[in-house]
């Protein structure tokens, strides 16, 4: 047994150039998993009440995705590793190592790699997790002594994921070894390199997955449904991307090769055949890059939009500086609040009072307004309206106008266009006599507003009864709340103090006081933490992309070295070699970027719908932030291209055409 450990250690040392990147990859992946799991574990501390569930589910989502990416990446890396070592394994086979001994040797190598990964990944993950926690706590103004930011559970899960990964790898190696005939090992390098066939099933299946994913992104316009289907759509698109990169690329390249006028051009000739030749193993790597790039872009664009949209979100949620509800029509409340404000050096600029029923969700079907319980199942958001019923007296009191209505005439305000001249509520048809284009302090949400003012209270109650069929008229008549909306001037801190005092004062109903200043603080802390996460994610994805790119260039450099030597002998100048390599690298580099851009194109409207839930209905703003993110990312991507392209070029052109193999 000792012998095998020595042998395995010698192998690892001898093939440093293969194993060092491998261990860096696995360690880094373990660190990512650790960061995510630690963040997930401390989400309760970091997100106090507000946004806790959103934060948790975001971290959960991230943990699952990083685990999936880890599995794919490591299997990809391992395949690469094994392919590079076939000759060496064959040699061991020839000098008398049976399959049993070989599999023992490989398993012990894996064991050593696993231990290194656990050590390196654990250390790196610990440091990064701690830094993440401290930064998060600081941004969120959470006392960082509340927790340490490192969870034992996170460590054991990340450890288990890593160990599980290596067990999968050992399993794959074992199956590969069992299926090989002894001498195959020596011949493998040439025999393994046959032209890929078009995998029709994979091609069609992945095409279906991708189309389904895209369709979901386009068809689902309901924000809540979009949120629940998001994960499913992501899985579909990921599956489709992997399948298409491996099988679709072979299909396209074979098609290009059949077009003789295109194919028999020096650059295309070499590139198409080279790409075709190695697309099956390369496809997975490229697909990973495309998905990582997509995720980076969406994560950064979304979190940045939320962060920079804080004002808009706050204004949508709290249109006035201070609002609260009163028990009854307490005439004195306004004065008492004004007095209270004075003690905090806050000046009340205006007070608007609204007395009437609370607003409710209802369905507008053509010109008929129905309660949302009148249909079964989930209702479409296209028809949903946030309905506020009132009398014309209520309207006049709140807006300070003096309008009058009579008969079955009504006044309406809508935040989206309503074309009808009549509005039917229950059995009664009303005539739309007045339309107002604005309503002070109307909340901005993804569900359009529909405010209706009636001539008399009786008419309003009848309409209300239709929307609340379970309540009696008498109940509805007494079920009236009074809201006061205040505009203030005064410092942020003073407004916060006023909010706290007002909550304690007993003037307003409990839990009804809302302050824009307080909401601003809450929203800022939540969006900052989102942005922080987005950056952590983004950096992680970018680094993972860099690792794959580097690995890919290394592998391909070694594989192409001999090819370019031959080409130089046959009559390709060094300059032509360089330009051929460049165009091939460009293709391999920009293909994932283009695919990612298409993915993002489909994902943006989808994500935008979800962001409407946060009160960000402005898609132009989101688009602008996305484009800026894309531009920044493109620069980083080009830098990575330069960096890894050099690795490839150095390997390929280091050998003079004169030297023999």
């Amino acid at each position: 047994m000792k012998f095998y450990f020595k042998l395995a250690a010698t192998n690892l040392k001898a093939d440093r150039r293969l194993f060092v990147p491998f261990v860096i990859t696995t360690s880094f992946l373990m660190a990512i998993n650790l960061i995510m799991l630690n963040a997930y574990a401390s989400s309760d501390v970091l997100f106090s009440e507000f946004g806790a569930s959103a934060g948790r589910s975001l971290f959960m989502f991230g943990s699952v995705i990083t685990a999936i990416i880890s599995v794919i990446l490591v299997i990809y890396a391992n395949n690469f590793l094994r392919k590079q070592r076939i000759r060496q394994l064959g040699l061991y086979n020839i000098i008398g190592f049976g399959k049993g001994e070989l599999s023992k040797m490989m398993a012990i190598e894996k064991l050593l790699l696993l231990l290194t990964t656990l050590l390196l990944g654990g250390a790196l993950g610990t440091v990064l997790s701690r830094i993440s926690y401290l930064t998060l706590a600081k941004t969120l103004h959470v006392n960082h002594h509340l927790a340490f930011g490192l969870s034992q559970k996170a460590f054991s899960i990340a450890g288990m994921i890593t160990i599980g990964l290596f067990i999968i790898l050992m399993f794959i190696d074992e199956i590969w070894l069992i299926r090989k005939q002894p001498l195959d090992l020596v011949r493998e390098q040439s025999a393994g390199e046959r032209e890929p066939k078009i995998a029709w099933f994979t091609l069609i299946f992945s095409l279906v997955c991708l189309i389904a994913g895209y369709t979901l992104a386009v068809v689902i316009t309901n924000p809540l449904e979009a949120m629940s289907m998001f994960f499913f759509a992501v899985i579909l698109v990921i599956t489709g991307t992997y399948g298409l990169f491996t099988s679709g690329s072979v299909f396209v390249l074979k098609w290009l090769r059949r077009r003789q006028n295109y194919y028999y051009q020096p650059k295309h000739f070499i590139n198409v055949s080279n790409l075709l030749y190695r697309m099956q193993q390369n496809g997975a790597g490229l697909a990973s890059i495309a998905i990582l790039v997509t995720m980076t872009l969406i994560t950064l664009a979304t979190t940045a939009t939320l962060f920079f949209g804080i004002n808009e979100i706050v204004n949508a949620q709290t249109p006035v500086d201070l609002s609260y509800s009163l028990k009854t029509n307490d005439a004195d409340a306004a004065n008492r609040v004004t007095e209270l404000a004075k003690t905090h050096h806050v000046h009340v600029r205006s007070i608007r009072t609204f007395s009437g029923p609370s607003s409710t969700l209802a369905l507008l079907e053509k010109n008929r307004l129905n309660s949302q319980s009148s249909i079964n199942g989930p209702f479409g958001f296209d028809n949903a309206r946030s309905v506020q019923l009132m009398t014309i007296a209520n309207y006049n009191r709140y807006t300070g106008q003096s309008r009058s209505l009579n008969g079955n005439n009504i006044l309406i305000y809508t935040s989206n266009h309503y074309a009808g001249n009549t509005l039917i509520i229950g059995k009664q048809s009303y005539h739309v006599a007045t339309r107002v284009s604005s309503f002070p302090n109307a909340p901005k949400t993804f569900i359009p507003n529909l405010f209706v003012a009636f001539p008399s209270e009786t008419q309003m109650l009848a309409a209300l009864h239709h929307l609340y069929p379970k309540k009696t008229l008498a109940e509805l008549k007494t079920d009236v709340t009074t809201n006061q909306d205040l505009m203030l001037s005064g410092s942020h801190a003073n407004q916060t103090k006023l909010y706290q005092d007002l909550n304690k004062s007993g003037i307003a109903l409990p839990d009804t006081v809302q302050s824009r200043a307080v909401n601003y603080d809450d929203t800022t802390s939540m969006m900052s933490s989102f942005l922080f996460l987005g950056i952590v994610f983004g950096v992680t994805f970018i680094l993972a992309t860099l690792l794959i790119l580097y690995y890919k260039q290394l592998a391909e450099g070694y594989a192409d070295e001999r090819r370019y030597t031959i080409l130089q002998r046959v009559g390709l100048s060094l300059r032509e070699v360089r330009s051929t390599i460049n165009s091939q690298l460009l293709m391999l580099f920009y293909l994932p970027l283009v695919v990612a851009a298409i993915h993002v194109g489909f994902a943006l409207p989808f994500v935008q719908r979800i962001m409407m839930l946060f009160g960000l209905p402005d898609w132009q703003f989101f688009l602008t932030v996305s484009l800026i993110t894309l531009a920044i990312f493109a620069v980083i991507y080009v830098l990575m291209y330069r960096l890894t392209g050099n690795v490839y070029y150095r390997i390929v052109s280091r050998r003079q055409p004169t030297s023999r193999r």
Binding site: R194, Q260, F269, S273, S573, R660
Partner: protein
């Protein structure tokens, strides 16, 4: 017959930092006439591969001059060398050096594609060549599906499709068994006889050399002896070559 290749006082010295300079070639002069089949024989380390690399413009001599068809190879600029090789020279290597990413047909087309020749011309030349080399059935296969002998014939086709002025063969039978070796050598002889293809072959095999018309023996970077085949048939020429080699080896023994 006109002189195709001319070497005059060619020298090659390798100097590496901190080490003694190594003289690989010393004062080599010879000519190859158009349509000739010349073999250069020598043991490993004799300098014969260095010599071939110089003629192939893959390396520069440190002294003397090499001309091909009157063109001084030293004056072919670094950037234009690939084009020069493509247009004037054909190569056959010991390890075939076929590209595994291409099928047989595309491997043969390669130099013409690099030279941006029209597809029709490529197809026309290939049709003739494939027939002559007996590889018509193999065109759609991939290198890994071929035997060594087949691969070397494909390599020969790739070298000849550009209709080079001179065909340079570096140990072309080195990786082949005796049967396929003799098939390939017969093929080279035929090509030389039928279309007057000039061939310069570097080898350490007496049998391979015996298929040529003239053998240059090279030892320690110098031309040691030259042998013309004249009217001899191949087996007789082989005997002469063997005798010369024996003499050379004996002399080497005496020299010590």
């Amino acid at each position: 017959m006109s002189t195709l290749l001319k070497l005059k006082n060619v020298e090659k010295t390798y100097t590496s930092r901190g080490a003694q300079p190594v003289q690989a070639l010393v004062n080599i002069s010879f000519t190859v006439e158009s349509g000739e089949f010349v073999a250069i024989m020598g043991e490993s380390g004799s300098g014969k591969s260095t010599l071939l690399n110089l003629i192939a413009t893959l390396d520069n001599p440190t002294g003397g001059e090499i001309t091909l068809n009157g063109q001084d190879l030293r004056k072919v600029k670094e950037g234009a060398r690939a084009k020069f090789r493509r247009e004037h020279l054909g190569f056959i290597f010991q390890d075939f050096d076929l590209l595994d990413t291409f099928n047989v047909q595309d491997n043969i087309f390669l130099p013409l594609v690099l030279a941006k020749k029209p597809l029709a011309l490529m197809k026309e030349r290939l049709a003739k060549l494939a027939l002559r080399l007996g590889i018509s059935d193999l065109l759609q296969k991939y290198p890994y599906e071929l035997s060594g002998g087949q691969q070397q014939r494909v390599a020969a086709a790739r070298a000849m499709i550009t209709e080079p002025e001179i065909l340079l063969a570096d140990e072309p039978t080195g990786a082949l068994d005796s049967k396929t070796s003799s098939e390939l050598l017969d093929l080279l002889t035929d090509v030389n006889a039928q279309i007057q293809q000039t061939i310069l072959m570097v080898t350490h095999s007496a049998i391979a050399a015996s298929h040529s018309q003239r053998v240059l023996f090279i030892r320690d970077g110098q031309i040691f002896h030259q042998l013309y085949r004249g009217e001899l048939d191949q087996p007789d020429f082989l005997t002469r070559i063997s005798e010369t080699m024996t003499a050379m080896l004996t002399k080497e023994g005496e020299g010590q």
